[in-house]
Amino acid sequence: MTVADSVLLEARNVDKRFGGVRALQAVSLTIRTGEIYGLIGPNGAGKTTFFNVLTGLYAPDGGTLLFAGAALAASSPHTAAARGIARTFQNIRLFANMTALENVMVGCHVRTRAGVLGAVLRDRRTRGEEEAIRRRAEELLHYVGIADRAHDLARYLPYGDQRRLEIARALATGPRLLALDEPAAGMNGTEREALRVLIEGIRKDGTTVLLIEHDVKLVMGLCDRVAVLDHGARICEDVPAVVQKDARVIEAYLGPGENVHA
């Protein structure tokens, strides 16, 4: 990490309220290009809310989000995807009755253009585009390691493969920032290790990764920097070694005072 690393995403004082609940309170954080950035915090800390604001599912009630130097338009997920932010979901959201390949092909939607006329006439450009979509989708399935399941319906895939498929679909949108919402949830040790390798690979291939995760070990081993949310507020943002020792973080996780005697 050098100081010259450029900023990819900057959140400034982002607020989000649901009725009387302040789900996000003036959250500011900075994600640099090419890093793996972890977002952790106890249950209900606002991690997924931040994701939803970032990806345009919720409009923030205050603050600004700058992505690659320009403001993110509020509340339109498809423009967020077009700008280069892709995400996965905590509770997997695949297109259950489409094949794995088709799922990834849908991911290519935002980077392709064919309309009704092209679909009906199947002119040379549309055919070329379809061919490219299919090839890209096959590549991505291979990349995440489930090429052999390409023609299986998504709902018949085993759990771990569904997680991988969701990542492949997100990558198909051609993102600059890949936001993963608890990708390791429900995985066993071997699957976690394979996931760690995959995320490392994604970063190495040039995509910045934002990771929400409960598994502290995974986050600390994988992330370049980590932010901690508690009760909707960002209480810490630093490299894992520092975050681990931060008194407020320990308090947020273990409760006030207990850590002294523990």
């Binding site: 498809h78 959201r93 297109f95 259950a96 064919a114 679909a119 949108t173």
Partner: protein, 360 residues
């Protein structure tokens, strides 16, 4: 059946032969049906083709995009009334059919967007209620737009509509073609068949395209579809417009064929029938939807013709009104299908997908 289709997909020559056989069957069908069963069944055949067009249009909205539409018949009405107003003595206009049918498709498409725009945020039951209301609004408008300015001629409907003319030849009279006399019902059959095939073709092309995948993605999970960068608003409106335009085409043909339109042809029951064709046949699966369209046009006619005489031979008199019996059996059939084949009579097989449906 699935296995047969799969093997046809693998073997191009077998597929060629199969489509050739199908083509010959479709070409001689009106002569066989007309000769063996008479003209009333030929009319049924013509109507079956119209309903196939309607069912395929609704299939785009309900089957592909997963938007439950209970007012679909309104688009059929729009197409039919456009034809009736532009080619009848009512306004004294007699525009050619090649102008009216595409105009009907476009106008119905616009109405589709009009229905779609306010319902974008609705799904399932709520959407069904709003679309049902839309269908009724159109029908009630048609019923009442005879005063203060008489546009639709109200409940009396519009009669004396021009028959469809192609190249100066009216399809309402027998046509002499290379020494063969083609009766009117046959001529309409070939015209409807051509347009039905066109609509099948467009449906198949759309299904296997970027747009078709986006529709299915919205049906499967709207939030995930948005996250994939699909502009769900536009893609949903496109589904409404495309589906409606098929209905508009069918409506125009209906008006020219019947030479008469009135609001009662476009009741809620008709919407329900078309929806049943889609659901019974196999939502989102084009061959299934076609099958549904054929079955639900032909079987009720069959009962209408046979229920009375059958009761006379069995019991010596008519115990149940054939019309009531028809609805009873229809209801039973629906329940049976939903119990034993909830995905429809001919759903899209996962087997097909596993074999790799690379339509090269």
């Amino acid at each position: 059946m699935q296995r047969l289709l799969a093997s046809l997909r693998r073997d191009r020559r077998a597929a060629m032969i199969a489509s050739l056989v199908l083509g010959v069957v479709l070409a001689v069908l009106p002569f066989v049906v007309g000769g063996a069963l008479g003209n009333s069944w030929l009319r049924v055949l013509d109507f079956a083709l119209l309903y196939i067009m309607l069912a395929l249009g609704l299939n785009i909205v309900v089957g592909f995009a997963g938007l439950l539409d209970l007012g679909y018949i309104a688009f059929y009405a729009v197409g039919a009334y456009l034809y009736a107003l532009l080619a009848s003595p009512h306004f004294g206009l007699h525009l050619p059919v090649w102008l009216i049918i595409p105009a009907g498709a476009v106008l119905a498409g616009i109405f589709g967007v009009l229905l779609g725009a306010p319902t974008l945020r609705l799904r399932g039951d709520y959407l069904a209620i709003v679309t049902l209301g839309f269908g009724e609004i159109i029908r009630i408008f048609l019923n009442n737009l005879n005063a203060p300015v008489n546009i639709t001629n109200g409940p009396q409907g519009i009669s004396g509509i021009d028959p469809i003319r192609m190249g100066g030849i009216s399809l309402a009279r027998p046509i002499d073609f290379l020494g063969i006399t083609v009766p009117s019902l046959h001529a309409y059959y070939y015209l409807f068949l051509a347009l039905a095939l066109l609509i099948v073709f467009v449906s198949i092309r759309l299904e296997d395209s970027r747009i078709g995948r986006a529709w299915v993605a919205i049906r499967e999970d709207e939030i995930a579809a948005k996250a994939c960068g699909i502009n769900t608003r536009n893609i949903k409106l496109l589904a409404f417009a495309m589906g409606a335009s098929f209905g508009g085409v069918a409506g125009g043909l209906f008006a020219g064929f019947q030479a008469f339109v009135s609001p009662e042809s476009f009741s809620l029951m008709e919407s329900v029938m078309v929806l049943c064709m889609v659901v019974l046949g196999g939502m989102g699966h084009i061959p299934g939807v076609i099958l549904g369209g054929i079955l639900l046009t032909v079987l009720p006619e069959f009962f209408r013709h046979s229920a009375g005489p059958l009761q006379v031979t069995l019991f010596g008199k008519v115990l149940l009104d054939p019309e009531a019996l028809r609805m009873l059996l229809f209801g039973l059939a629906l329940i049976a299908v939903m119990l034993y084949r909830p995905a429809g009579l001919w759903p899209s097989g996962t087997r097909r997908r596993e074999l790799g449906s690379d339509a090269a």
